[in-house]
Symmetry: C3
Subunit: 430 residues, 3 copies
């Protein structure tokens, strides 16, 4: 019997600030939840429900999928919100965890094992990840789940991904109704001797925890490209250069001497201007990447507008504009690790190259300099020439104090004739 | 009998600040007054006089035209300065009002009407214009001229353009000698029952009132282009792209990967550097538009020098230089209407895109940011990095206060080896 | 009998700050001392010794040349340090004075004259040079050496270059052992009636006194190019343009639409990015000249890293990085002469175009503006947006004070729909 699937999409995303709803965050022209729904369908699951929050429910409803509004907080509450849906085998996944489709098969295979009551997935890695870790015995049974150990104290090499299988969904419901936390319910099941198998997974994993994880998720999608794809009604100048695995959607225009280096994605109706350079990036719909802009390993939402900018390892939510000369820097002067402040806590981003995370509807003035790792809240404006080196809240204006300038009589005079001399230096055109 | 023509070119141009003399302002390599003289000649007028001021008289004299120095202030004084010239039918035009040549014919035709004593022109528009309005009866007779109504209180849809025909110039002189103001003389004529006919006009009108009107006048000229024209001794790189109606004067050099999008004009001897983008703009003589500059809908006077700049909807008088990275911004962060201060009054420019107006001999430093709608007086210098958001007078220096910087011991050390890693990220050239 | 040669390479280089050791300064991939050694060998000299200082001795030793550590200070001490080497005819040259090989022949020819005891070289020029001047009689005998006359008080048109020939090196040693200064020893020889001949020289002279002389030395080398040379394993995009005498070393990659205008040198393994423009410059090994950078008449040491920069008439020592939008300006707003401060003294650089001199391991932030003629000490960092108009010492951090910004509630709202209008303005791609 095919398990029913619950997709958790209601989670609050405070740590994802300043970006908008994770489940609705678009990649390759579709929201993450659409991708997840599509992936479960492709894997053969027929009965799928999405647990939504008040904000994304009206939108997700349109995706021809069963939905339910989450009541209460936390994962347990989320699952219990879908109580009426649960019957028999059950698979629980997050909207914002993507993985290779083979993982579904692997989990179901282990789930089919007679003795298996529960099956959890551990992502095998020697890199530290600030999440739960599975402690497993030789029979591949989970004996313990350790939540967020500090770095260096990881009890295993298996980071928990929520792709949770239960032979009997009803049993999970029973546990959850006695426990407030999902993790505690799982611990209780283990304690009570239920057989909780572990599946270890080593392929690609796309997740969204912190806003800069958008870049990792972008990579996850870019790495799925198998061949170059050019949509309908696309105009590409003869002098533009398109290298590698690039997906260009309908109606895109690419002007003279633009260069796009794959893997890269250009959304529908977007204009890539003259003399631009885009590498390993994802550009949303109806953007204008204007004259002489360089974009490296960055994500642009829909309706962004740039010209003469440099963006490295940065994330722009939708409808963000940058004035000419604005730079989103991605490297500290000392080339050290980049930290970012999340909910008052200084987080080690584990990146030496990280640019700027910009919320929707932000306007960034000409010749501004945004320092690596900072975040800018939605609807904020940043005045010309500003150097911003810390986070800026939502709906703020940040500008120069007028007092920083001095105006006096100009005591200098220009010597005539010099310019003619300078012009002679200009190379003759051959 | 062909009317004699008076061209008024002596008007003070305080509202045109910081730009120089309107009559001498060059378009397509010729001053406006030369264009006006040429246009009257082409229309068949043989007797033309230009009323000049002390400053432009010596220059206009060279244009093989009758001139007279204006004595006293105002239009009445201007016309009376040419009193000795006036005899029989008379046409009065401004140096800085250009229109389709057909308007001359239209006025003369109405002027020939037996009963017509005076004929005035109204530009038919539903857009507000801060000038005089003609109130006309059903017989197309002007019954009143309303000077500068406030917006929303326009008494008609006919904005007065000075293309004034008088059957008997001497009669006008008589009226003027009794009145101080030209408008009052016209009002008196109407009051006395002289037949003052109106001609309504709907084609192109180029005028210079405020300095940003230079952009409208530029458009007036650019729209006259009928075909592409390339002068003698022009060198254009094979990789440069020239689109649309573009006029390129003698001796121009256009370097690799430059793109010029018409309608556009490139003045004699000018150099258009590598990787530049020029759209719908007018570039004067002997300019250098250097490496990686973008110019959009802007006017550059002679001898301007740029490189790595962005200019949008801006006007540079002659001999203006911009350091690398200087940006003349043309859009507010809130994308709202742009205001400009003229003679102490905040003027609604009726533009959401307007850049900067720069007087002659100005030097603008590297990485500066000039805010939309500001004006910079001639002979002023602006120091590197300055963000200027209000008008700057003539002969000023505006720079950063030194105090804004802090210098301390550098506690950081660069980790060796990182750079080699970064270099690997660079795309292999294929 | 062939003279023995002493190359003086131990000189302290305080006036050369912030650049590193003159003798080891690389040009065309080799240090200056290597060039000088090679030149003496090509001229046929077999016995050559280099007088080194403690720092450069270990490196120069590797160049398969006799070396000696200088004991004591000054040129006399330097020569005496090689006392054991001196025997018979002797030629003394500086490591950092390069000239046409014909000068060696000229000096030896005069040196062969029977009566000649000493032969000195004067560089014939009417331009002032802050060095020693030879006063010569009609028989071409040096009668006096005037050290550093002030400008306008030059006693002749012969500036002394150290290419000093002595028929008997031992005699020089005797004089030096009695005098503390080399110049005094020479004066004493003249006074005692020794025949000191002068050779006048008019061809190219490359010297390093002040750090900006690096640019003159660079020109000296660039002017030696006879033909274009492309190394092995070089990849040049079909759309790149290489003009004139350019030397490109092994393993260089030149990306799309780059333009290199000779004479120019690109060091081994260097990457020249898209849309770059390099004119009359020298780029070291393993540099990255990134996207949309313009370099004019500048010297880059090894391992420099740029993108979206402008550099004019500037010198970067090795391992210098510039953030996007950083500009090294080379022209004052008043287009006047550029001064620089050396050891507390304001020095007239005799240049109207001079950029910035940057010591090794310096990091210059995004959108910074470095003013003409300033110098930056090694291991210093300059924060984003900084406008620096005076020298910065070694190991310093220079940044903006935070107080210069103001943050308040954003009272503006973006009008929707405007952007779509703007997009229509964008030129259709044809």
């Amino acid at each position: 019997m095919q398990p029913k699937v619950i997709i958790l999409a209601a989670g609050k995303a405070e740590r994802f600030w300043p970006l908008s709803d994770k489940a609705l965050f678009p990649f390759l022209g579709k929201s993450l939840i659409e991708h997840q729904i599509e992936r479960t369908r492709k894997a053969g699951f027929r009965e799928v429900i999405v647990v939504c929050n008040r904000d994304n429910l009206p939108i997700i409803k349109n995706f021809k999928i069963k939905t339910v509004l989450q009541k209460g907080e936390g994962q347990a509450a989320a699952i219990l919100s879908a109580k009426n849906f649960i019957q028999g085998p059950l698979l629980i996944v997050n909207a914002n965890d993507l993985f290779d489709p083979s993982l579904f098969k692997k989990v179901l295979l282990v789930g089919k094992g007679k003795e298996t009551e529960v099956c959890l997935v551990g992502y095998q890695t020697t890199n530290y990840f600030p999440g739960g870790y599975l402690v497993v015995n030789k029979k591949n049974e989970v004996k313990k789940i350790v939540e967020k150990p500090s770095q260096g104290k990881e009890p295993s090499d298996l980071v928990r991904i929520v792709v949770d299988f239960f032979r009997q969904g009803e049993k999970l419901v029973n546990y959850l109704q006695q426990e407030i936390l999902y993790e505690k319910a799982l611990a209780e099941m283990i304690k009570n001797g239920e057989v909780v198998k572990a599946v270890s997974y080593q392929k690609e994993w796309g997740f969204l925890k912190y806003p800069w994880d958008t870049l990792g998720m972008m990579d996850f999608f870019l790495r799925t490209f198998k061949k170059k794809k050019i949509g309908r009604n696309v105009k590409i100048s003869k002098t533009a250069v398109i290298l590698g695995l690039v997906m260009i959607e309908d109606g895109v225009k690419i002007f003279e001497n633009a260069k796009i280096v794959g893997p890269a994605y250009i959304g529908q109706g977007t204009i890539i201007g003259n003399n631009t350079l885009i590498r390993e990036s994802m550009i949303g719909r109806n953007c204008v990447v204007g004259f002489s802009t360089e974009i490296t390993r960055s994500y642009l939402g829909d309706d962004c507008w740039l010209h003469s900018n440099y963006l490295g390892d940065s994330v722009l939510d939708k409808n963000v504009s940058l004035g000419a000369g604005a730079v989103l820097a991605n490297l500290r002067l000392d080339e050290g690790n980049i930290y970012s402040c999340v909910k008052g806590e200084k987080i080690h981003t584990r990146r030496t190259k990280l640019g700027v995370i910009v919320g929707q509807n932000v306007r960034i003035g000409v010749n501004t300099s945004m320092m690596p790792g900072i975040k800018i809240g939605e609807n904020s404006f940043i005045g010309a020439g500003v150097v911003l080196d810390k986070d800026l809240g939502e709906g703020k204006f940040c500008g120069f104090k007028k007092k920083s300038l001095t105006i006096r009589r100009n005591r200098s005079r220009i010597k005539r004739g010099e310019r003619e001399e300078f012009k002679k230096e200009l190379t003759v055109l051959r």
